[in-house]
Amino acid sequence: MSIASTESGQVSLSGLDELWFQVAGTRCNLTCTHCFISCSPHNDAFGFLSLEVVRKALIESVEWGVREYYFTGGEPFLNPDLVEMLVLALEYGPVTVLTNATVLKDEWLKCLRDAEERGPYSLEFRVSIDGPDAATNDPIRGEGTFDRAMRGVETLVRHGVLPIITMTRTWADAEDHRILSRFRDVLARHGCDRPRLKVLPRLLIGAEAVRTCGYDETDHVSVGMLDGFDSDQLICSHSRTVTDQGVFVCPILLEEPSARLGGTLAEADRPFSLDQGACVTCYQFGAICTNPSGQVFEQTGDGAGEVHT
């Protein structure tokens, strides 16, 4: 989609439903070739968040009425304070941690499941595995990572976790059904017999832009494209991301300087111009970062109109 001459549309923060923590920065034990922020063991562009930064943001988040908290990286479990952060966050609301499941330890999971059982909120584990077999996954995520991730899934299941498995689509759309069906079979053989599966589109930035190709320079979401469009489908209308370098509009555009909206949540409460190619992908696919249970779908009906009082 190339609309060179049109102005980019802007999206305001309608309410802070999800607060993201870039808790491991861009540090990851893997070097996935499709990573939209090029995480690796050596990428220090963004650093770990400290427990104190997370604690302060959690306290601040209450007055914003945040619904749920997401912890991502990089690989979040590389941050030595992560377990303590998750336990703390569960006192404030539901928590999701996005992991590659290759570094999980029994003692962490025991502690986290105990914390979840003590309170009213869900702790979700979102595990990234990019295909139902090593032949599909390993070229993207690295040699041996499929088997390691499956052992991680087994560990999660052993602790009573029902993971959400996310996969980035590196196959044709028409293959989705076959891949999902095969994934269910494979996961069941590893003891995970009721997974929630989520297919994610590729974001053509970071490492992925090198692996395949990037967006066209002129790709953006124009004012006209937002006409009649429900902006709540975009996470920038209801999320912000806390990093060690300030608050960003979303967890995707960390390498884009204009996506840093301020040093605090209050400063980051301002509109964002959808002038990035990745914005087009979100526009096409909706709130791709949100869990299935938290997605709100646009209502197309007229909603009957009158409200009786």
Binding site: G15, D17, S61, V62, E63, W64, G65, V66, R67, E68, Y92, G93, P94, E116, P120, Y121, S122, L123, E124, G160, V161, L162, D176, H177, L180, R194, R196, L197, K198, N291, P292, S293, G294, Q295, V296, F297, Q299, T300, G301, D302, G303, A304, G305, E306, V307, H308, T309
Partner: protein, 259 residues
Amino acid sequence: MKLAFFGGLYSNYLALEAALADASRRDVQQLFCLGDMGAFGPHPDRVVSLLRDAGVTCVQGNYDDSIGNELADCQCGYTDPSDNRFAQISYDYTLEKTSPVHRRWLRALPTSLDLEHSGVRMHLCHGSPRQTNEFLWESTTSDAFLDRVLDPTGADVVLGTHTGLHWTRTTPRGRRFVNVGVLGRPANDGRTNVWYTVLDLTGHEVEVEFVPVDYDFHRLSGEMRSEGLPDEFVTTIESGWWTTCLEVLPSRERRCGRY
């Protein structure tokens, strides 16, 4: 003063009959229904007739909006392809079997209601006060968020349904949220009964009672089979376990079920 609140009927007219009879025995003075009259079950016109004959005050759910406006789907927002396939079978059946008169009635329902009884201000909606089809699951709704979405209503008690699971919580700012449950299908607990809610406003405190309702589920499942509705739906009615629409359940709620 006692008020009864029904939600998510899903065409289960036998459960609605049983709930109406139960509410009558409890001297309930006013009846409310928070929407999603059709889906899942057989003969969708029957619940609408019962609601209208019994003088139940109704709020529109996303399903009613769809049927009333003859939209292409139910706007339930499932994320799994097989959930959407089952939902579509059910939706096409319900749309076809809902009479034009009842479609007009569903279309005209309000999306929310505000009322006051015994000094208690109540706000009635389907999903959440801010959006009809928003899921407010117990385990993924923080206290702070609940206060944020309830505050604009100005109500002491906000009542909704939509998720299929009843729960209640008083927020830090002192507002009460009640998901009144659904009469359309069991609460994914391995029991065949369904649920509605009675609010007792006689004292100074608002008392919330979740009421289990037994009904002739064998008859319902037989009629679902003869109407050609999906076996998966019939299994839920007969076993008390949800078999579909599971992808949108948070892990805590999902763990309580079998599938």
